[in-house]
Amino acid sequence: MRFDLDKAMGIHEQALYVRSRRTSLIASNIANSDTPNYQARDIDFKQVLRNVAGMNEGERLKMTQAGHIQPGGMSAQDAELLYRHPFQASIDGNTVDAQIEKAEFGQNAAQYQSTLHFLTGKITGLRKAITGEP
């Protein structure tokens, strides 16, 4: 079996990229929490990762000709930026809710660390396979 180091890390490499991108996005929201007319933005992590990994088995399109393409296989860099829907509109046109952003930031940081944990597991496995130690 041919071994491909690029694919050894699985989806986690892309997931880490999206997580880090989301960290900076939410940091931008927090930074602009007092800027008039600033619109809070975010990425739908689930949707992006689904686009990267390809669609679910049942949702695949039927390919009857050579030129047909399958959706999915997108790169994590193409993640679509969405606007956050504010619960209560601010009088200066700002849609940042500091509490929500802080909660999202903390959650995202924890998820980033869990992705790192998965990657560490993969690397440990590879290293064991290379050195042959139990």
């Binding site: 960290t23 930074a31 007092d34 800027t35 600033y38 930031f105 990657l119 690397i123």
Partner: protein, 137 residues
Amino acid sequence: MSLLGVFDVSGSALSAQSVRLNVTSSNLANAETVSSSIDQTYRARHPIFATVLDAFNDHPSMAGVKVKAIVESKEELRMRYEPQHPMANEKGYIFLPNVNPIEEMANMISASRSYQNNVEAINTSRQLLLATLRLGQ
């Protein structure tokens, strides 16, 4: 690496919020500065924040903050009749700044909370970066 960009973005917010704190403390310090004419009286100042998108071109999603301008409040100055006051004009009036201490206190609390939020964002990103550097060790 977009985690490094957090330092730029949150750093710009820290500097903007500290300008806001400075302006607020200047207003509070001058809240009772008396003068004898309208032109010489201190007026409350307020910073105007604006989003910066250009500075972080490689990541169009990232947006820092800058202080676009510091404007003087257009509210009316306080005028008080005090003929014995050494600064009183020929009609016996002194002029006091249009600083609203309650508004300034609220501004100060908001600025300090925002400052703390940004410091927290920087700290968390730094921890994540260091954890990424240790990956596989």
